[in-house]
Every structure is written in structure tokens, then in C-alpha cells.
């Protein structure tokens, strides 16, 4: 709190100084990078202009009255009231202005909703708390997670320029192509939003909604999840890289290559040390948000991993929960679709050997493949 007041104290000076560097003070929508976003931008400017105009006229009259018609300057009250003509005029004029506004707005609505004739289609799935991208035509599939290090959030390291707006694996699209988006979610409602493209679409679990954009310029565009989706709602950014057609093709080829390498891993057998090393990375990316990096969880909300009955109990039950999810209604979802066999094996092994757990046993990719086959047979034991 103390530092806050100090900051508040110097704020006046900071504010005055930064007036020259106007870059930090944005007063309007972000610079549009698609046709739809540009139309929204102009629509907003138009309606703001109308609003400011009306505001000046109406409140100009009010303030004139406040100054001229005050008792202290000796103004005597008139006693007029009820004037049908005036009342009709001030009902009709706003109505006409609104009709004038409705027309251009309706045109943009229709354009926004027209998702026909796409050049490519990407399915986007919201998870707590990351985004999954499926390039339906190219067969590319990956997840995109916040890349800002924990230390920057906790304030123990200096913050990067794109603090909280960086991901490990951004969405990549070619410039000038109509990209149709199929947006859904896996657990709760999320909302995929990139302001520069004028796209915001909720991802609703169990339903698929569509939207589209066509990026004008090569560049990197950033957005965030726009629907409250739980604890880390503020920490699931969206990054879209718009690249040239050739760069896009190269990217697709590279993605396919790494997918094959991952598939090969699933048939191997690893030793405990290898699994723990790899598992730690998987844990940090997928589990630490809830169960915490040190495995303590959040009492009452997310169970601890350190010393938990699951991580120190039978390994089959442990694998079962990670693959198929926890009890219904809890935030623990199954990772069967999100992680490869090798990754699940690694993270299970890590959880059983990290912190004070020291179980010494290991799960192998083959165990995971077996667990995938059987549905959640025995209900997972209560993991409080």
C-alpha cells in the first residue's frame, strides 16, 4: 500500500510528462487490420460524433439556464409547462437520427455475419486456460498458452513489452485470405477476441459458432479472452501472426513435422528421470495454474498434488483421472484430447516423484494408451 501512495504522489508529474508521449494514451479503438474492423471503427466515430453534438446542444442549453436563470441573479420563474408541439418535436427528431444510425449499423452486422466462401477454416477451442487451434484443411493441431514467465507476473522480474499478451505457439494465417473460424469451448464459456480484426465470438461448450476475418497486413495481432472463465481468465491471451503465403506454407510443413515426432514418442519407453524432466514442463504448462508449481493447490478450490491420495495412491487411478477427468462438476477435465500419451505419462510420473511424493514409479506411454481405451471405469476416488 505504501508504494501505492508514493506512486500516487508522483503520478501528477508522470501524467504531465507522458502527455508528450501520447503513445500510451489511446483514446479510440485499436487500429483496424481488416475491412470489418475498419467499418466498425468508422461506425463508432460516427455515432460518437452524433452523441457529442447532441450533448453539446442539450447541455449547452442547460448550462445557459443554470447561469442565466438563477434566483441569485434575480430571475423570476416562468410558469409554462406542457407544450405538445415541443414534445412531439423532441420525440420525432431523435427517432429520425436513430433511423439514420441504424442503417449503416445494420449493413455492418450483415457483413460480419457472412461467413460464406472461406479460403481456409480454423477451429478454435477455449480451455481453462489456453486456446486450441485445429487447421481443418491442413490437419495442423496445437495449443497456445501464455508465455509470460511467472516471475514477471509476481513482480520479481522486469516486464516485457508484450507482458501478458505473449503465447508459446501463436495462430498463424496467410495475409489477405478469408479465414473462417469455428469457435467452441471445452469446459466453460470463453470468448475469442482480436480487436484489430473486429472479431469477438464466444466459445460455447457443446456448440460451434462461426465468425470470419481477412487480415489486410502482415504483422502480429494480439487479443485476450473476453468472457470470464475462472481463475486465469486474465491469463489466456491470443496472438495471431499474419504472414505471407510462402511463410504460411513453410509454417504448416514445420508443424506437421513436429506432430510426427510427437507420435513417434508414444511408442517408446522412457526411464523415470527422462519422464520427470519432461513431465515438469508439461506440468507447468497444464497443471500449475490450479495445482500450483509447488504442488500445494489452493485450499478449498484446487486440491494439492504434494502428498495427495491420488499422486501417492495406485498409479492406475492416477492415470485415470488425468486421462478422463475428475469427479463431474469439478474443474478437473480429462487431458485425453489435449496431451499425447508420452506427455501424460511424463506428467503422471512427475507428479508421483516431485516434491515430497517420491513414489519412484513411472507411467509409460503404453499405459496411457491402455487407459484411453477403457472409459472411466471406476469412479475416481474423492481427491480432496
Amino acid at each position: 500500500m505504501k508504494s501505492m501512495w508514493q506512486r500516487a504522489g508522483v503520478m501528477g508529474a508522470v501524467w504531465a510528462a507522458s502527455q508528450s508521449a501520447l503513445a500510451d494514451y489511446a483514446y479510440n479503438l485499436q487500429e483496424p487490420a481488416s475491412q470489418v474492423a475498419r467499418e466498425v471503427f468508422h461506425l463508432h466515430n460516427l455515432i460518437m460524433l452524433v452523441c457529442v453534438g447532441i450533448f453539446i446542444i442539450v447541455f449547452g442549453m442547460m448550462f445557459y439556464s443554470l447561469i442565466k436563470h438563477r434566483k441569485s441573479v434575480g430571475h423570476k420563474a416562468a410558469h409554462f409547462h406542457e407544450n405538445t408541439t415541443v414534445e412531439i418535436i423532441w420525440t420525432i427528431i431523435p427517432f429520425i437520427i436513430l433511423v439514420g444510425m441504424a442503417y449503416p449499423a445494420a449493413k455492418v452486422v450483415i457483413e460480419m455475419k457472412d461467413t460464406s466462401n472461406p479460403d481456409m477454416t480454423v477451429k478454435i477451442t477455449g480451455y481453462q486456460w489456453k486456446w486450441g487451434y485445429d487447421y481443418l484443411n491442413e490437419g495442423v493441431h496445437f495449443y497456445s498458452t501464455l508465455a509470460t514467465p511467472r516471475e514477471q507476473i509476481d513482480g520479481t522480474a522486469a516486464k516485457d513489452e508484450h507482458y501478458l499478451l505473449e503465447v508459446d505457439d501463436p495462430m498463424v494465417v496467410p495475409v489477405g485470405k478469408r479465414v473462417r473460424l469455428l469457435i467452441t469451448a471445452n469446459d466453460v464459456i470463453h470468448s475469442w477476441w482480436v480487436p484489430a480484426f473486429g472479431v469477438k465470438q464466444d466459445g460455447i461448450p457443446g456448440f460451434i459458432r462461426d465468425s470470419w476475418f481477412k487480415a489486410d497486413k502482415i504483422g502480429t495481432y494480439r487479443g485476450q479472452c473476453a468472457e470470464l472463465c475462472g481463475k486465469d481468465h486474465g491469463f489466456m491471451p491470443i496472438v495471431v501472426k499474419v504472414v505471407s503465403e510462402e511463410d504460411y506454407k513453410a509454417w504448416v510443413a514445420k508443424k506437421k513435422g513436429s506432430a510426427q515426432a510427437a507420435a513417434a514418442d508414444n511408442t517408446k519407453t522412457f526411464d523415470v528421470k527422462e519422464l520427470v524432466e519432461r513431465g515438469e514442463k508439461v506440468y507447468q504448462a497444464n497443471c500449475a495454474a490450479c495445482h500450483q508449481a509447488n504442488g500445494t493447490g489452493l485450499p478449498g478450490v484446487f486440491p494439492a498434488m504434494n502428498g495427495s491420495k491420488v499422486a501417492t495412491g495406485p498409479i492406475a487411478a492416477h492415470i485415470n483421472i488425468v486421462v478422463h477427468g475428475g469427479r463431474p462438476g469439478t474443474a478437473m477435465v480429462g487431458f485425453a484430447d489435449r496431451l499425447s500419451d508420452a506427455e501424460i505419462a511424463a506428467v503422471v510420473t512427475y507428479e508421483r516423484n516431485a516434491w515430497d511424493n517420491k513414489m519412484g514409479d513411472a507411467a509409460q506411454p503404453a499405459d496411457i494408451a491402455a487407459a484411453r481405451g477403457g472409459a472411466a471405469v471406476a469412479a475416481a476416488p474423492a481427491a480432496q
Binding site: A26, Y27, K113, G206, G230
Partner: protein, 526 residues
């Protein structure tokens, strides 16, 4: 606030209980009005403190003071308490005090029921606040309670649903009481079209409450059964639809928005003519405008959901109907300005708050018009622009009208004039503080800062810092209000029966302070 008003009234031959029992068993409309207003004030400071914690965390990027989950609990509870624990009870408090006085009735139509509808509120309030100490903490899914996120939570989510039910029951009983009082207990000669605007707006508000409360009750009950009894109303895996919850919730929620603002229109429509010394410009058109707003409020709910992805026809329908609401709202604003025009204006604290209301509420109205444009809304939905919009409507709208009303009627209730210097200090600090908090939020939303996030990207820092400083100015200046109210109850210059030179209406014909029992014989209105 009526302690002083009836310190000497308790010696009748059916003696009233004293101490806490007196307040627990009271059926007097003035007592119950005071209870509502005190409850609301306590909750204002509670939920206001939560807002200051939120703003402290948002003073700079990074997580400094709290865990993200606790941040979400704060934003959720701040919203729930401010709506159901501050604004609604405050307006019901005004209705209890003022409606019988303004229509010349001795009390409310059902005084026992009136007592119950108040005492349900603290029960609900304790349940809501108590849930902070339950395992997992209070609800963190947002005041709108959207599933499936709301299905995930712990036991406090069930408790919150129960609390919402209790508050809903309280509102229903309160509304039935207000409707029957207004319709059945008007003094002879006081026809509907002679009723004060405040009474009119409350009549329409009570209609809206009765029409929509079952919808809220049903919606939260279905959440409860989804959570605990294996139903699948909102679960796609079981054939339900999470978006239907939003439709149902906002079918209640949008009329609720007008429930929170119509009584404010009423209060301001009482105050502006008084201090302009001139009758309300268009009484009839004000009544019709209020009724149109109420009717239109049932046709606009899905404008809260443009981002869920509706068919084009639905988007266009809800966009047009929402824009249409600007017409009757405009009529109201024009009427207030026309009432001031060529009046003989003085600027006591109630009038200052009323003028600030007209000006700042209109800013909230304009940002509402911007948000009504579906394509623009899709950019701004769930951003700080929306936060700015509804705080302009609810803080400088609803809350300022409550302040205005308290300053206006406090002399009648307590028999003492409040301290004008303190009142004006409170006004100027509030109005300046309020704008420092909420105006920059428009820019944050335009620039792309989502709402309900505990941490933000660096480009949003400056405006967030300004907002936080404003929040502390605004928050702490409310202590002046508390001191002022306490001082006025204890003493101060004696208020005349008329109190304000230009005031019109039955409430100004009874003595100040208004005696414990008023209008046992109905006055005749000519």
C-alpha cells in the same frame, strides 16, 4: 434515520417494544424505511471497500495484493451486493418513507408483510458475505452467474443461489405492498394522473419487479438443480444449452436495469421542479415515457449477448429495439432541461446531485447508445467500456439520485437541516472522484482491456492508475456523507414544515420531523 423523529411517540396505551425488539417487530412505514436505508448504507461501505481492493490490485500491472481467484470473488460480490444490497434496498427505503407521505396514506397496505420483506434482507446479506469464509471462498463466477462456470464452484455457490432467492422474495413482497398501497390508499381526489412522479416511477418499477422476479428465481433454481440434482438444463452434454441461461437471465436482467433507474428518475423529477420553482415541464409525457421504457425493456435483453453469435435477424431486432429506448429516455432528459429553463434556480445539495445526475446519466445513456450498435458492441462487449457505461448509469445515475433524495427529504425525516457546507463538499468530491474513476475506463475499453481481469498488459497502465486514484477520492469522500447524516439526526438547525421554498406535495404539509403516525385521516386533494 428517523430515531429523532419519534423518540417521544412510544407512550400510547398499546406500548411499543423498545430496543432491538422495537426494530425487529416494527410495522411502521417510517421505521422500515429507515431500516432499509441504513442497511443500504452499510452495504454501500462493504461493497465499496471491495471496489477499493479491486482498484488497488489494478493500480499497476502484475499481481501484488491477492490471488486471481480472490480478485474474481471481489468483483462478483461487489456486483451482487451493490445491486441487490445497496441500490434496490435504498429505493425501497425511499418508497417506504415517501409513498405513504406523498399519497396521504397512514401506512403501507400490508405493514406485517413490510416488516418481513425488510428482515429477509439482512439474512441474505449475511449469507452472501459469510460465504467468504467457506472453503473455496465466495462466488467468483461473476454476478451474472453464467453456467457452466457457475456449475464448477463449491458450496458458496449454492448459498449464493439461496441468498438470491431470499432477496427475490423480499423484493416481491415489497413490490406487492407498494403496488397495493399506491393503488388503494391514495387520498380522495389524488387521481393517478395527479400522483407525484416518484410514486409513478415506483408503481411502474414494482410492476417490472413482479413481472420479472419469477424468471430470476427459476433461472437460479435451474442452476441449483444442475449443480446438485443431476438435471441438464444448461449442460450441452445432457441436451441443455448454456446460452439459454443467458437468455433467461437477461430477460430478467434488463428490466432489472430499469428497476435500478426508474425510481432515480422519480426522485430527480421531484427535486428539479422544487429548486427551479417551476412545475415539471411535461408531466404526462414523463409518465408515458416511463411506461414506454418499462415495456421496451422486455424486448431488448439479448443486446447483452451480441457476442454469443445470434442469427442476423435476431441481432438486427435487438439492435433496433435497444436504439428505440433512446427515444423515451431522451424525452425524460429534455423534460428535465425544459423544467430548469427560465426557472428561478438555486443550488442546494439535492439540486446539485440532481443536475449531476442529468448530465452524467446522459453520458451513460450515450455510451449505451454506442453499445446498442451491434457491430460496435461486439468490439466493446466485456471490456472496460461496458464497465464505464454501467457505472455512469448506476453510480452517477442511481447512487447520485439516492444521495439527492436523502439530502432532499432528510430535513423532513429528522426535523433538522443538514450542514450545507458538508453537503456541498461531499457533492464536489463525489462528482470529481466519480469522473476520475470511470471516465478513463471508456478509453481502456476502446483500447482493448477486457473486464474482470486481475492483471493487464502494460499499455493500459496509465488510465488504470488514474482510475485507482479517483476510486480512493470517491470512496473516502463517502465518509463525509456518513458524518453528515449522523450529525443531522443528532441536531442542527430546525427545519420548517415546508423545508424547501419551491417544494410541492403532501409530504410538506406534515410537521418536520414527520410524526410517527401521519395522515390517519386522509387529506383531500383538490
Amino acid at each position: 434515520m428517523s430515531d429523532a423523529a419519534h423518540a417521544h411517540d412510544d407512550h400510547g396505551h398499546h406500548a411499543h417494544p423498545t430496543g432491538i425488539m422495537r426494530w425487529l417487530t416494527t410495522t411502521n412505514h417510517k421505521d422500515i424505511g429507515s431500516l432499509y436505508l441504513w442497511f443500504s448504507l452499510i452495504m454501500l461501505f462493504t461493497a465499496g471497500s471491495m471496489a477499493l481492493l479491486i482498484r488497488s490490485e489494478l493500480f499497476e500491472p502484475g499481481m501484488q495484493l491477492m490471488h486471481p481467484d480472490f480478485f474474481n470473488q471481489l468483483t462478483t460480490m461487489h456486483g451482487l451486493i451493490m445491486i441487490f444490497g445497496v441500490i434496490m434496498p435504498a429505493f425501497t427505503g425511499f418508497a417506504n418513507w415517501q409513498v405513504p407521505l406523498m399519497i396521504g396514506a397512514p401506512d403501507m397496505a400490508f405493514p406485517r408483510m413490510n416488516n418481513w420483506s425488510f428482515w429477509l434482507l439482512p439474512v441474505a446479506g449475511i449469507m452472501l458475505l459469510g460465504s467468504f469464509w467457506l472453503p473455496g471462498g465466495a462466488v467468483a463466477g461473476g454476478w451474472t452467474m453464467y453456467p457452466p462456470l457457475f456449475i464448477q464452484g463449491g458450496v458458496s455457490y449454492d448459498l449464493t443461489i439461496l441468498a438470491v432467492h431470499i432477496m427475490g422474495l423480499s423484493s416481491i413482497m415489497g413490490s406487492i405492498n407498494i403496488i397495493t398501497t399506491i393503488l388503494n390508499m391514495r387520498a380522495p381526489g389524488l387521481t393517478l394522473m395527479k400522483m407525484p412522479m416518484f410514486v409513478w416511477t415506483w408503481l411502474i418499477t414494482a410492476y417490472l419487479l413482479i413481472a420479472t422476479m419469477p424468471v430470476l428465481a427459476g433461472a437460479v433454481t435451474m442452476l441449483l438443480t444442475d449443480r446438485n440434482f443431476g438435471t441438464h438444463f444448461f449442460n450441452a452434454a445432457g441436451g441443455g444449452d448454456p446460452v439459454m441461461f443467458q437468455h433467461i437471465f437477461w430477460f430478467f436482467g434488463h428490466p432489472e436495469v430499469y428497476i435500478l433507474i426508474l425510481p432515480a428518475f422519480g426522485i430527480v423529477s421531484q427535486i428539479i421542479p422544487t429548486f427551479s420553482r417551476k412545475p415539471l415541464f411535461g408531466y404526462a409525457s414523463m409518465v408515458y415515457a416511463t411506461a414506454s421504457i418499462a415495456i421496451l425493456s422486455f424486448t431488448v435483453w439479448a443486446h447483452h449477448m451480441f457476442a454469443v453469435g445470434m442469427p442476423v435477424a435476431a441481432q438486427l431486432f435487438f439492435m433496433f429495439s435497444t436504439m428505440l429506448i433512446a427515444v423515451p429516455t431522451g424525452v425524460k432528459v429534455f423534460n428535465w432541461v425544459a423544467t430548469m429553463w427560465k426557472g428561478s434556480l438555486t443550488f442546494e445539495t439535492p439540486m446539485l446531485f440532481a443536475i449531476a445526475f442529468v448530465c452524467l446519466f446522459t453520458i451513460g445513456g450515450f455510451s449505451g447508445l454506442v453499445l446498442a450498435m451491434a457491430p460496435v458492441d461486439i468490439q466493446l462487449q466485456d471490456t472496460y467500456y461496458v464497465v464505464a457505461h454501467f457505472h455512469y448509469v448506476l453510480v452517477s445515475g442511481a447512487l447520485f439520485s439516492i444521495f439527492a433524495g436523502i439530502y432532499y427529504w432528510l430535513p423532513k425525516w429528522t426535523g433538522h437541516m443538514y450542514n450545507e457546507t458538508l453537503g456541498k463538499t461531499h457533492f464536489w468530491l463525489s462528482v470529481i472522484g466519480m469522473n476520475i474513476v470511470f471516465f478513463p475506463m471508456h478509453f481502456l475499453g476502446l483500447a482493448g482491456m477486457p473486464r474482470r481481469i486481475p492483471d493487464y498488459a502494460l499499455q493500459f497502465t496509465e488510465f488504470n492508475q488514474i482510475a485507482t486514484v479517483g476510486a480512493f477520492i470517491f470512496g473516502f469522500s463517502q465518509l463525509i456523507f456518513l458524518v453528515l447524516v449522523l450529525k443531522t439526526i443528532k441536531g442542527g438547525a430546525k427545519a420548517s414544515d415546508q423545508v424547501w421554498e419551491g417544494a410541492q406535495g403532501l409530504e410538506w404539509t406534515v410537521p418536520s420531523p414527520a410524526p410517527y403516525h401521519t395522515f390517519e385521516t386522509a387529506p383531500v386533494v383538490k
